[in-house]
């Protein structure tokens, strides 16, 4: 398969769909795979360069701008009006230190690559979040797709019944699928404890009833759809989600969304808060073949009381992330799962009179682990006060290109928007950090 020829993929899709209807029945189970698009083949050049090991991504997003100097990039030798009360702790890997609120992660630094040289110019929340997720700055003329939707589009489904992209605990303003068709939009789970709600048919609804209900729906909408289906993506999206919902209801993998099926010990390990449980849910979904799961943790915008809030919030990340790395490793899933910790910007090194830190896009940190990444390393560096990147500066587009690389997706393959402009997963000219792999 020539990865540059998306028309080829569409042609195969068309054939497989036609084959299904031609036989007059829906081919289910393993037989269905015979006619499906072949599993996307990782780009051979990417494979040669050490990429393409990951099959899944668990993307943990810290919303609000997580301070870098108090977490992944501590500066124990900086002055106290920069360092504050934060102590740097040693970790499993010699020479790598973390902020004192991350003792759990400290025992797993041999699995991670700390990326300390992120730098952008977007210091406002909406714009920063958008840039981090899409690799592009917001424009009034197009809605760019988020990295999760890119992965959903550029890979094939491992599990035909489950969605390729799930978003747990996401805030409203998420770029979602952008200009991609609705099938690449994330399935949102608002509260992981509630999971996927309403998956069982209403009591005493027979197969026939349910089928009739679905048929009647199409009938009732016949005129409406004739009028609006083609010109309105919003309408097509509803037809798509109903189909996906019905498929999902029949899936044996539904219980992946049900956290009560997970042993108590395991649930406790991740932390009983919503974020911890969301990360656990992500692991379960990876095991069932979901490609990309994003779990969001909000409340990092510490303009005041930075250190008090840090003591409250960072332990949640620490516990969930440590549990995840340990769990994936034990289950042999770490090589095939890329774990990402990202945020929209860092926070100013100079502490404000309110004991806070302000937005700081000029230098900040993210984390990558698994998916072929070589653990126990630091990529990039900042100066003595974590104010400027002094080595290996990268931007959000490079970061996303790296995610593409780990999955074997070509980061620079252009996909056309409806207005015929090309966009890529790695942004305008992002380059993957290949040196951290292998």
């Amino acid at each position: 398969m020539n990865p540059n020829n998306l028309d080829e993929i569409n042609r195969r899709d068309f054939l497989s769909r036609t084959a299904k209807t031609c036989f007059g029945l829906t081919i289910g189970g393993s037989m269905a795979r015979l006619f499906d698009s072949p599993a996307y083949a990782a780009d051979p050049t990417v494979l040669k360069a050490g990429g393409g090991k990951a099959k899944h991504v668990i993307y943990l997003y810290m919303a609000g701008g997580m301070t870098h100097i108090d977490t992944f990039d501590p500066k124990p030798d900086a002055a106290s009006d920069i360092r504050g009360p934060v102590k740097a702790i040693s970790t499993k890997v010699d020479g790598i230190q973390l902020g004192h609120c991350l003792p759990g992660l400290a025992r797993h630094t041999d699995k991670v690559a700390l990326i300390r040289s992120l730098s952008t110019t977007q210091g406002a929340h909406d714009q920063g979040k958008y840039l981090m997720h899409t690799g592009y700055a917001p424009r009034g003329t197009v809605s760019h797709p988020s990295s999760g939707s890119w992965v959903a589009k550029m890979t094939s489904k491992l599990n035909q019944d489950l969605p390729p992209f799930v978003l747990v605990g996401g805030a409203n303003k998420h770029p979602g699928a952008g200009f991609f068709e609705p099938e690449f939009a994330p399935l949102p789970i608002g509260d992981p404890e509630l999971g996927l709600q309403n998956v069982r048919r209403r009591y005493s609804t027979t197969d026939a009833s349910f089928a009739r209900q679905l048929d009647l729906r199409k009938e009732l909408d016949h005129d409406f759809d004739t009028k609006f289906h083609q010109g309105q993506k919003s309408v097509r999206a509803y037809d798509q989600v109903y189909d996906a919902a019905v498929t999902l209801m029949k899936s044996e993998d539904l219980e992946a969304f049900d956290l009560s099926k997970e042993p108590e010990v395991s649930r406790a390990a991740y932390g009983s808060d919503r974020f911890g449980q969301g990360v656990l849910l992500a692991r379960r979904l990876v095991e069932r073949g979901v490609r990309f799961i994003e779990v969001e943790l909000g409340g990092f915008d510490w303009h005041a009381d930075n250190f008090d809030q840090m003591e409250e919030k960072i332990p949640l990340l620490d516990q969930a992330l440590s549990a995840l790395l340990s769990d994936l490793s034990t289950r042999g899933l770490l090589d095939s799962t890329l774990v990402v910790v990202a945020t929209e910007f860092g926070r100013s090194p100079k502490i404000t009179p309110n004991a806070g830190r302000n937005h700081y896009p000029k230098a900040f940190s993210c984390l990558l682990a698994g998916g072929g990444i070589r653990g126990g390393q630091v990529y990039g560096a900042t100066d003595i006060t974590a104010s400027n990147v002094v080595e290996n500066k990268i931007g959000a587009h490079d970061f996303n290109a790296t995610i593409a690389f780990s999955l074997g997706i070509p980061h620079d393959l252009p996909v056309m928007s409806p207005t015929k402009r090309p966009f890529k997963m790695g942004g305008l000219d992002g380059k993957p950090i290949t040196s951290i792999f292998g």
Binding site: A171, A185, G190
Partner: protein, 699 residues
Amino acid sequence: MTFRATLALAAGYFPTAMKLPRRLLTHFLPLVCVISAHAKPLPDSVVTQAASRIDRILADDLKSAGLKPNPVIDDATFLRRSYLGIIGRIPSEMEARQFLDNPSNDRRSKLIDSLVASPGFDSHLFNWAADLLRVQTRQEQFGLGWHVWLRQSIAEDKPWDKMVAEMLGSTGHCTTDPAVGYYLRDRNMQLDNFSNTMSVFLGRQIGCAQCHDHPFDDWTQYEYYQMAAFGGGIEFRSSDAQDLVRKTIKTLAAPRLDAAPTISMNNKQERNQGIRKQRNERQKLVRNIGNQFRPLFKDFNKNAILEDADSKLVLPEDYKYRDAKPGEVVPPETLFGAKLVNIAPAERRETFASWVTSQDNPFFSKVIANRLWARAFGHGLIDPIDDWKDDSETAHPEVLACLEATMKGAKYDLRQFLRILYHTRLFQRECLTEEPTMGVPLAFRGPVLTRMSAEQIFDSFLILTRGKVDDESSSAFTKSWDTYRKQVAGLLHAEPRELIVLAESAKQGEVLLRKAQSDQRDAQKALAEAKTPEARQKAQATFQEARMKQRDAREQADPFKSMQMSMGGGNKKKNDGNGSLRASEYPAPFQPGSLVREFGGSDRQTTSSSATTATVPQALALLNDYKTDIAAGKKSRLGQTLINIKSPNERLDCLFVTLFSRPPSPEEEKKYRTLASDPTALRDLARAMLTSNRFLFIQ
């Protein structure tokens, strides 16, 4: 179906109703406001003229572009669009029939006027405003006060310019000036708050310039700070607290100082020493008492701001441009509209509030007019509605100019302005079949097709499950807020001794908090180092305990906050008075996983962040949730109604009028008549209707 045919049909099925004299029928018309705190509505002639002017200009625009306007919609489509668009819910079966059976020629315009004047309008507009401003009732006490203030302002038709000026000029504690919630929403994030002000009220995105010169617009970072400097005097603490501490010190310190030894007047040196000693004693006392009260008033300070004329905005430490130095004071100056410089520090906020809301501000009127246009017709004349550039284009520049003039002419009365928009011919045209293209100005041959908002869906389900709904605002929030205000006032007048006790307890709470935090850190460490499952479990348990202790300690350290917790009302999750409250009467934001959030209701984190994108959980909710199974089962009101109707055709009619606000077409009747004879089949039909695009979308 033509109106006459409908009438004939109705006559056949509702013989009794049709025999009633018309005056009795009008008795059931939707409530025209009788008791109202509303402002006086504009005369009908003014409204019609204003609407016609808009239509005329629009028609000219379309003609020049060689485009034809869409045809006018039928009564049933108009009925549904009006109810949803104006009061935010579908009509009940009864309301629908009243309109559809009304033979008078001006029924459409009368419907608009009665809906605009009804309390449902307030609830629907409130959702829009609360989304825009990011009102949260769960975030500290001020959120509740702000909600009550906003609801009240809308109910009494406070003009938009006055509302905005009140918010921008607010100061003090939220119990005395609840509009201060606007600033408290972004406590300690004054610059972010300012960026929001610019985008919400003036449609300008300047947030990026906070950190660097804006690459695309003409904003430099210095200019950003010049505008933000109008808010440079804002301090996020309470002057009431300061005053109360001072007063208490005076009361408590007086006896102690009286007991101090009198200064001997003999020796000058001794006297000076004595005075110095006394002064030091007094200062120490003041400091001690101040420290004792600090934790008690922590919450107070979280719910108030004060304006300090001596406090000024300075450039950030890392300011890198040549035009000024880092840390330099930036004097406030406006960058467009009326040129204002050399502003006295004490007048900064007043000046800013007046400047933003001035009729002469080039963006203020246009932006709100365009926002409301987008609300009424599904898309702005200028789009995006919060990002006006110098070269923003619209397909209808004269309409925009007319809207601006209309807004000013209506003196910023949002209700009357919207009323004018609803009276245009445009509001009666068929929706466009193609969605707007991003970045391309839209030619309004008709309104844009939109999905019901999450709140419209929520409120429509109220109608479906209850047959009618109370559009009035609930008194729960107001009651809670009044209780809180009284408690605060009580505390401000409390005896010094009572305050000391409270302060001691708060101080203790702080000590407990530090201990709990340190315990948590230890437990975290232990958890990380645990080698066996038992050790891990033990560490986990200790960790949870420490977290709980932290929570309790926090409450003790913050007694004002725990006052709010026990208040109920604003913060109770189940504040639903028998489940009949509209979405606007619930604490905001709704919780993740709730129906409103699943359907895209705003999380109130960013402005106007509600969405109508399709998701699988939405489909599942409409397919399988018991709460959306409105026609099935003995408990269902609609189910009961259907059972009690004898003829299948009538049942079908009832179902269609209830769910789609229109009777079935002849083809539909023929197709579904047999289904209507069997309860299970009818139930399936009802379920199918509820999951249809026809139900979810507003044509």
